[in-house]
């Protein structure tokens, strides 16, 4: 059953992406000021949103693990964090390439870029911590604690450096500006692509989670094998 869900999600994502790519490249016009490079926004923004949504979802799963004690929530938290990290990296790399053309520089220390970079560092630390602990329950417990700390810290970081004058383009999504700043066709494209990317992310998370549970099964089977060996010997 799980297999079918993964394939279904992946297929839907692929289909959606294909349609969107067609529309992005062949239907939507160039931006008046930026030229063709603006099309990067259609992956850059969805990737950023996927990353941040992922961190909060991982927080939810971490708390769920702590309250229920079931390791599958820990697996889900780890998988979501990993996938969110990948999409945050996509976000930063695409943004950097865009910036090289539009601003002439690869990097700048404005609020959004810095916050995203710091969150990447925090969650890389999360993955490193998991690799440093072998015992599953301890690993789950400690990474849940780090996930909670990390997520709250990301919120504080965002708020605290937001007051800096930002070089990053001001919000264009109409939910934040109240409409009128961006061609509606382009804005809808961002949301469509967000849906496609979220589907892709969901498929990847499910694959990763299944790998985590396989890994747990291997662990417990090994323990059983050792026990049997000792009984035989």
């Amino acid at each position: 059953m799980r297999e079918k869900v993964i394939y279904g999600l992946a297929a839907a994502a692929a289909l959606f992406l294909a349609i969107n790519l067609y529309r992005i490249f062949l239907v939507l016009p160039d931006d008046a000021l930026q030229g063709p490079i603006y099309r990067i926004i259609f992956f850059h923004v969805p990737a950023a949103l996927t990353g941040f949504i992922g961190y909060f979802v991982a927080l939810a799963f971490s708390v769920w693990y702590l309250s229920s004690g079931k390791l599958k929530y820990d697996s889900l938290a780890a998988s979501v964090t990993e996938v969110a990290l990948i999409f945050s990296c996509v976000n930063i790399v695409m943004g950097s390439i865009w910036a090289r053309v539009i601003w002439g520089i690869w990097w700048t220390w404005d609020a959004r870029l810095t916050s995203t970079l710091i969150s990447i560092l925090i969650y890389s630390g999360y993955l490193m911590l998991r690799r440093a602990i072998d015992e599953p329950t301890q690993r789950a417990r400690l990474s849940a604690a780090l996930s909670i700390f990390g997520c709250l810290d990301v919120v504080i970081i965002w708020k605290s450096i937001e007051w800096f004058r930002t070089q990053h383009p001001a919000p264009v999504l109409s939910i934040r500006t109240g409409g009128g700043d961006i061609d509606p066709a382009m804005e809808h494209m961002i949301y469509y692509n967000l849906a496609a990317i979220l589907l892709l992310a969901a498929a990847l998370v499910l694959v990763r989670t299944r790998q985590e549970s396989m890994s747990r099964e291997i662990d417990s089977l090994r323990r059983m094998a050792n026990a049997v060996e000792r009984n035989v010997a």
Partner: protein, 64 residues
């Protein structure tokens, strides 16, 4: 600005757009490949351990 410079700028703009998309795909592709390899390794390990258990169980029966 003369048309020649504009064309060059446009070409660069276009090229970087593709680099951007290429970068995104490469990152995701690398991740998917690493997932696939990890999956294959885990599956093999799982099969190995299962076989190990089966053979040990078999031994135990034999001794009994």
């Amino acid at each position: 600005m003369d048309p020649h410079t504009l064309t060059l700028m446009y070409a660069r703009n276009f090229a970087f757009m593709f680099y951007g998309f290429a970068a995104a795909w490469v990152i995701v592709a690398l991740y998917v490949i690493s997932l696939a390899r990890r999956g294959a390794r885990l599956k093999k390990e799982l099969d190995d351990v299962r076989r190990l258990i089966a053979s040990e169980a078999g031994e135990q029966d034999f001794r009994v």
